[in-house]
Symmetry: C2
Subunit: 198 residues, 2 copies
Amino acid sequence: MEYYSKQISDLIAELSKLPGIGEKSAQRLAFHILHMNKDDVHALSNALVNARDNVRYCKECFTLTDTDLCPICSNPKRNHKQIMVVEDSRDMAAYEKTQKYEGVYHVLQGAISPMQGIGPNDIRLKELMKRLEGDVDEVIIATNSSLEGETTAMYISRLIKPTGIKCTRIASGVPVGGDLEYIDEVTLLRALEGRTQI
Amino acid sequence: MEYYSKQISDLIAELSKLPGIGEKSAQRLAFHILHMNKDDVHALSNALVNARDNVRYCKECFTLTDTDLCPICSNPKRNHKQIMVVEDSRDMAAYEKTQKYEGVYHVLQGAISPMQGIGPNDIRLKELMKRLEGDVDEVIIATNSSLEGETTAMYISRLIKPTGIKCTRIASGVPVGGDLEYIDEVTLLRALEGRTQI
């Protein structure tokens, strides 16, 4: 890219390393950044470095955070006896947006995937079992509804069974607003199996 | 976003200010960045700040660059008597990618647009006329084929006429690989008007 001067080419090259950002998008972003207020560019640059340099796993739930305990684990108003198990921090954020769940989380940082060589020891399962030695009423398994997520859910439920702690799985079925005509057969069967009395 | 710790929320907020990046994409990018190598994040952060802090207009052609003269204007192998007028630096890059044009550029940094209140004095036209006082053989007008681009091309051609310098406009017509059936009427008429003998 010798038609741009070095620092502009460098910026485009760095931006195009990000996921989902091709060369054209990187170019568009770079020129937007070059026209931004200097202070705003410094704020973005600092946000990048601060977040990356200080990020760590919450010592309780293993979500990504910049403090020893994440805001949820350190909140005394949450129900620490109810643990929802999710695959990653974004899944946790998705449930937080509902503003209805009052328990805490456990972030596995992955799911069991024999295809990708990820076994039970590669995700935060030991840490979950350790938490269950404390005072826990219920474990809600909210891994994704994918092959890996289902495998992980099954594996965890078998691990928990001997402890006697209540273990539940979030429902699988027709999404709200969904049109039966366009929904796949597996989901339709799940919805039928999971029917509840009205 | 109290479900993410402060620095992670800040990073997501800063990223979502960029064009074309909504909250979900910002979240995805942020988590990608948190999993990146620290050195790579520092490189990205430095690229942002270096490019923005050092960016300026080339004193010859007014493209964005980080040196006084851009790599093209400072290249003695280019034909400095042939000037291609474009709207912005990305248009210049588009022609540079063809690797066939050997002249230099003049970047207007915009186009005349009465609708948006951009007049001839708001773009780098005076600077172009100043360059034409030197030794110039040809001015190639390569503004976009939009209403604003055409208006600007017309305006420039009228300004240049009295100087006696050869002034050309890039051809407008059917794009290579284009299927006549799907091309708009205006383009078809332009292609007809601009027909050349074979």
